[in-house]
Subunit: 338 residues, 2 copies
DNA sequence: TTTTTCATCGAAAACGTTTTCGAAAAGCAG
DNA sequence: CTGCTTTTCGAAAACGTTTTCGATGAAAAA
């Protein structure tokens, strides 16, 4: 069976293409009976309008792009889930692009997105993106962009984040309350917006402590596996190793667990650990992992809804919105007193 | 800055649209010097060809669709990673659709895919899909489809799976060797292809045991959270509860852990557990979880490469290929003797 | 010189929609 | 029967490419 298009329907029905098109879009200029005839045949021949022809004519693609550093990561995959739910509800299609934490990949992807393939972009920066030129250019073409989690500080760009400063503060405070005298802060890179905020929360929490632990131990581990393990092992092998670890991303907490196994360090006795994480199995780990958990699904939902607000009324020049959702600190065994 | 198209470039360069188009595609009919002039201006004006116009004219979209039951799941997100890597290498774009384990969603999605929005489809069925009509119809339009993991038994459709029967057999055998007298098999649904194979492996392993444990305890839990927990709790509350659990998907193992916590059952003393799973934290769980781990990334890669072989030479009518990758059984604490 | 080839380009027709605008027919008032 | 509105439809132009085919002039062959 050949694909059926408007022309075929028109010929079959002795109507013009224009009439068939309008009938299918339920236009008022078409008689009810004609509409029915058209719909019946369209159903019978399983007519599906060609989205590319339609997109070209209407100059909109009914498609959005999601650009994220990685997908094999609970946080991002749950965010994506939230995005998909909203997009589907709006009848939009979702193209996903992975930068794999590579700045050059990010630039190439963003550059491609100028083509008009999508009507809007949802994005989280890769860890070493420090320059926003490519994003500014994309924005200047009129493309609606909403950043989430790892945001770019660009004027008039809506963002969805969590209360990273407060969470960083609370996590550090939590470790201090559990009698850690020295606390190391682990991150992938110092460039990201969230890292700056989380780390600032960490620093300020340390400052406010009456008995200052003094040292500001911030370790930037890079984003590839070998480097991470090495950095952590080095940190934990020092004679004056920290008593607490605050991991700014899940991956670092997992690595810490593995290093502790290797070095025969017992959590939480020898080392207490807390981490930003969306692991659904956090409570089942040995020991269970204390986490600051971000509302990933809601981040996706909200970011997507924000984007659609931009897409639907281009004319909104009221201030760009910055949504901040709350993370929750869940204390578990890895920071426990026992 | 307005978007630049071929017309604009042509006018600027005093050339025809045709010439500009051909120059950009490096056609032999265009003088080298002209090509350079065109490319220079295109770069300067940041020209990006309109993909929809191009797709319409060339009647191919450079896009593939991935249809999966869920994304917030380590297995599927890693598969997606593998797919994306290959697709990007080929210069293709990836549309993802989630069925959320809903058959009606699946039908609607597949129906939409008849529109020609994509050049090929990679798919894993949702758990209660028992009828393949919609897929057969899509295939009959000439759309290349490759199934992975949860496959549809359709003639001439390539598939990528793992050795589910053997793995089911080995997992059961492993529990038997660790002295489980009764073993329950947990699955979401009895409909899926993989479930049939895994369960058959389980059944056959039980049969071959000299001292037959007799009972074939297969429990189909459904796919929503409440039901799963309830089914497992009921199973483990019976006085003659099984000594071993073989979970056919990760989600069921996690639920089992939680139920055991609730019922104060100790793994592996009171109950041994093994599960199909791609959890990266399996070794860090309490106790560490014995798993049959599928090569998710490779499944994605291979499925995508198979799809591209179909897409590139439509004329391949040699037998459809069925790739079977090996899963690996990793024995850990949850089936341990201690 | 005339004819033939070659190199380089442009005109125009697609691809399948959507939309504007005008035409025809039908209804209605006068 | 005339003039007017209303209803229903179709012709045709766009959207931005790609591609076929013919045109042009220059170089090569006769």
């Amino acid at each position: 069976m050949e694909k059926t298009d408007l022309k075929k329907l028109a010929k079959e029905l002795n109507l013009s293409i224009a009439t068939v098109s309008k009938a299918l879009r339920d236009s008022w200029e078409i008689k009810a009976e004609t509409k029915q005839r058209v719909r019946d045949l369209a159903d019978k021949l399983n007519y599906q309008p060609n989205p590319y022809a339609s997109s070209m004519r209407k100059r909109k693609s009914q498609t959005i792009a999601v650009v994220i550093p990685e997908i094999a990561n609970n946080f991002f995959s749950v965010v994506l889930d939230g995005i998909q739910v909203i997009a589907e509800k709006k009848g939009f299609h979702v193209l996903t692009y992975l930068t794999h934490e590579s700045y050059t990949n990010e630039i190439a992807t963003i550059r491609h997105l100028q083509s008009g393939r999508v009507d809007g972009v949802l994005m989280s920066l890769c860890s070493d993106t420090a320059d926003y030129q490519h994003l500014v250019r994309l924005k200047e073409t009129g493309m609606p962009i909403v950043f989430f989690d790892r945001i770019a500080e660009i004027p008039d760009c809506p963002t969805v984040t969590t209360d990273d400063y407060e969470s960083g503060y609370r996590a550090t405070e939590h470790l201090l309350q559990n009698h850690c005298k020295t606390i190391a802060y682990l991150s992938l890179s110092q460039h990201t917006s969230i890292n700056r905020k989380r780390q600032q929360g960490y620093i300020d929490a340390l400052k406010n402590l009456p008995a200052k632990p003094g040292k500001n131990l911030a370790v930037h581990c890079g984003d590839e596996n070998g480097g991470i393990m090495r950095a952590i092992k080095k940190l934990l092998s020092k004679k004056n190793r920290p008593e607490g670890i605050f991991a700014s991303v899940e991956k670092l907490a997992i690595a810490t667990y593995h290093v502790c196994n290797e070095l025969k360090l017992k959590i939480p006795d020898d080392l207490k650990v807390i981490s930003f994480s969306n692991l659904r199995t956090a409570s089942l780990l040995s020991p269970s992992l204390s986490t600051i958990t971000q509302p990933a699904f809601d981040i996706g939902r909200e970011a997507c809804e924000l984007l659609f607000r931009k897409i639907e009324k281009k004319s909104n020049n009221y201030m760009s919105e910055h949504l901040v959702l709350k993370s929750s600190l869940i204390a578990r065994g890895s920071t426990g007193p026992n």
